[in-house]
């Protein structure tokens, strides 16, 4: 009896330890590739870490702790970098993410609704076609769109020339300098952060890339709306438009809000697209926080400043995440009993 008791409590003790053992490998890997760099980054953000310190790291003799100077320099635009203003970049970054979502979600929902029409031919083919942009590598997408917006040979300027010729009778070739023109086409549209043509070019390109995802989500959600709700509404007297606003839109909301939040975060940190298309130019007008941080390291090699910048991005991202997470959780599934 006593032996049984002890073996039982032994098993229990083993069971208590076991989960931690299973978690250990993951923790070790996370520690090496996530937590250590994270902490290291926070530490060097308070130093004057530059290229010459790479070899010895924290043991470099002339590495100095300079307090929060890096942070102050960033916030007060005291860095010797042309056209840099942290708050302008931050504002632009938010606007960039927001304006993308504002366009992608309604477009995705509209197209999904149209393609969900009963009796539409070749539905599956359309649906397969609009997933294509999602699976093309971003570098390829960026390259193609950079070429489309080429001043002399790009398809966009040729299209505008054709349109102008057809409708206005003016066949002079149009050479819009999409990625170089620093004059905002709509002055004062976003106070404090001028939106250059490059922004609009990127919006067009990212629209092509972004709406299909929203459409995929909306298509799935649409198919889960019971058909008899529309029948009940049609008997209740709702026209097609009224059914869309009173049934479709509210019932898509629980699916579309998390998708919109996801789209926002994705656009917010859309490094490769901005980097490959505009490089943040012209005059840093399309710089995102992430591309700027990259520039600090890659081109200027100011590791300390870049680390401070990364910590700031982390804080911003955290706030964005907390807010959006709250919104997401606030969305309920109507169908849940």
């Amino acid at each position: 009896m006593a032996a049984a008791q002890s073996s039982f409590s032994k098993t229990k003790r083993q069971n208590a330890v076991l989960p931690y053992l299973y978690l250990l490998p993951a923790f070790l890997i996370m520690g090496v590739i996530t937590f250590y760099p994270l902490i290291y980054q926070v530490i060097i953000s308070f130093t004057n870490f530059e290229t010459q310190h790479l070899l010895l790291g924290m043991r470099s003799p002339d590495l100095r702790f300079i307090g929060i100077k890096n942070y102050i320099d960033i916030f007060t635009a005291a860095l010797p970098v042309e056209n840099f203003n942290f708050f302008r970049v931050l504002e632009f970054n938010f606007w960039w993410a927001l304006s993308n979502v504002i366009l992608h979600v309604p477009a995705g929902v509209m197209i999904a609704t149209l393609l969900n029409t009963d009796g539409l031919w070749l539905k599956r083919i359309y649906r397969a076609a609009y997933v294509l942009p999602v699976v093309v590598p971003p570098l390829v997408v960026a390259t193609v769109w950079t070429n489309i917006f080429d001043e002399r040979y790009g398809a966009m300027n040729q299209l505008l020339t054709t349109l102008s010729g057809t409708f206005l009778g003016n066949f002079d070739p149009i050479y819009i300098r999409w990625f170089e023109d620093v004059k905002p086409p709509i002055p004062g549209f976003l106070p404090g952060a001028p939106l250059t043509l490059a922004y609009y070019a990127m919006m067009i390109a990212n629209f092509w890339l972004g709406w299909p995802f929203m459409s995929v989500v909306a298509t799935g959600a649409l198919q889960s709306i019971p058909k008899d709700l529309y029948e009940a509404a049609s008997i209740d007297g709702a026209t097609g438009g009224q059914q869309f606003w009173n049934i479709t839109v509210p019932l898509l909301r629980p699916a579309m809000i998390p998708a919109a939040v996801y789209g926002f975060t994705l656009s917010f940190n859309l490094f490769n697209f901005v980097f490959f298309m505009t490089g943040g130019g012209p005059a840093r007008s399309t710089e995102l926080l992430v591309t700027f941080a990259y520039n600090l390291v890659r081109n200027l090699r100011w590791y300390g400043v870049a680390a401070a910048f990364a910590v700031i991005i982390f804080a911003v991202a955290l706030v964005v995440f907390l807010i959006t997470n709250r919104i997401t959780r606030a969305t309920q599934n109507y169908m849940e009993a």
């Binding site: 008899d228 029948e231 009940a232 049609s234 008997i235 209740d236 709702a238 009173n246 109507y334 849940e336």
Partner: protein
């Protein structure tokens, strides 16, 4: 208030013919139940009336107006769906008010009608809730309430009770009947449950395979089914059927079922006198088969020997599952009956209450 007419209505889905031809009129203020097995076309018939399905040919009239090409919202009908189809994102109040709001009814009028309907259905305390916070029975009431507030000419019900538990179903059955008496409007009600049909309808339309089998009051349907299908569908447990042959010998008509014979009382024998040798189906309802000990007096009883296979004691009655020859049948006997499983017994067929059907046409012969 309006009558409803189906004039030679046909419905095909592609090559599949769902409604072959139905042709009948529902009177004003009537409670008509469309009943039939799954897939018989009864729901399609209702959905065509609602305007949710197109009509392949024929015409449907509400009152004097042909509604074939009228949009559902302009037909002046209201429908209660099997799934209730409540708008999940709206409160009970908004669910009920939705149709009125779309019709630009004044706010005070909306309030009045919704509150009145909520009062009738006893859901006033639920008006602020969302459908997901309601039980099945409450959702059912809201769905009915949404129909009531519209004050339509015709109410359509598509199997509204099939998602409720048995007890609630009985209760709602009574409430819908009461509602019909109170509103004095035409009700058309689809169900596969013959008990619902029998208990609620002023008339029942039995539909099978896209064709109307019989349309009459519940009692006539029960007592004088027009054909084999109606006889088997209406009543629970359903009518017993025995394949047999008519023997006419002098003035006497007997039905020969191989394992037993029964004689038709002289008073009822006339229709069969010139059918000697005809193959028929003999039908008798379980309650017209008695334990000899408890058989009512003065009936034309015929003794039949059988073996008891199963007994079901219901308390107020007992079902005997009996075997004779190749036939099995059910008798619904007095609960005091001592017949038990395995007994060889004699039961009495009440020969004043039999039915005979033509084997080929399946029509009743009387």
């Amino acid at each position: 208030m309006a009558s409803v007419t189906y004039n030679n209505v046909v419905k095909n889905f592609g090559d599949v013919s769902v409604i072959k031809n139905i042709d009948f009129t529902v009177d004003d203020k009537e409670f008509l139940v469309l009943v039939g097995p799954s897939g018989c076309g009864k729901t399609t018939a209702l959905r065509m009336l609602a305007g949710l399905e197109e009509i392949t040919s024929g015409e449907i009239k509400i009152g004097d107006r042909i509604v074939n090409d009228v949009a559902p919202k302009d037909r002046d009908i209201a429908m209660v769906f099997q799934s209730y189809a409540l708008y999940p994102h709206m409160t009970v109040f908004d669910n009920m008010a939705f149709g009125l709001k779309l019709r630009k009814t004044p706010k005070s009028e909306i309030n009045r009608r919704v509150n009145e309907a909520a009062e009738i259905l006893d859901i006033k305390h639920l008006l602020d809730r969302k459908p997901r916070q309601l039980s099945g029975g409450q959702r059912q009431r809201v769905a009915v309430g949404r129909a009531i507030v519209r004050e339509p000419k015709v109410f359509l019900f598509d199997e509204p009770l099939s998602n409720l538990d048995a007890k609630l179903r009985v209760q709602m059955r009574a409430e819908i009947s009461k509602l019909h008496q109170r509103l004095q409007t035409t009700f058309i009600y689809v169900t596969h449950d013959q008990t619902e049909a029998m208990t609620m309808a002023s008339r029942i339309a039995v539909i099978n395979k896209g064709l109307l089998q019989q349309l009459d009051t519940p009692q006539v349907l029960y007592d004088r089914p027009a054909n084999l299908f109606v006889a088997g569908f209406i009543g629970s447990p359903s009518m017993n059927f025995f394949p047999g042959k008519i023997d006419v010998d002098g003035g006497k008509v007997t039905v020969d079922m191989d394992s037993f014979k029964v004689q038709i009382p002289d008073a009822l024998a006339a229709p069969y006198k010139n059918m000697n040798g005809k193959k028929i189906v003999f039908g008798i309802r379980p309650e017209n088969i008695h334990d000899p000990e408890f058989a009512p007096p003065n009936i034309h009883g015929e003794k039949v020997s059988a073996k008891v296979d199963v007994t079901e004691l219901m308390g107020n009655e007992t079902f005997l599952y009996l075997i004779t020859g190749a036939n099995t049948f059910i008798a619904r006997v007095d609960p005091r009956s001592q017949k038990r499983v395995g007994h060889d017994v004699q039961v009495i067929f009440d020969m004043d209450k039999f039915h005979i059907f033509d084997t080929e046409t399946e029509e009743a012969i009387r």
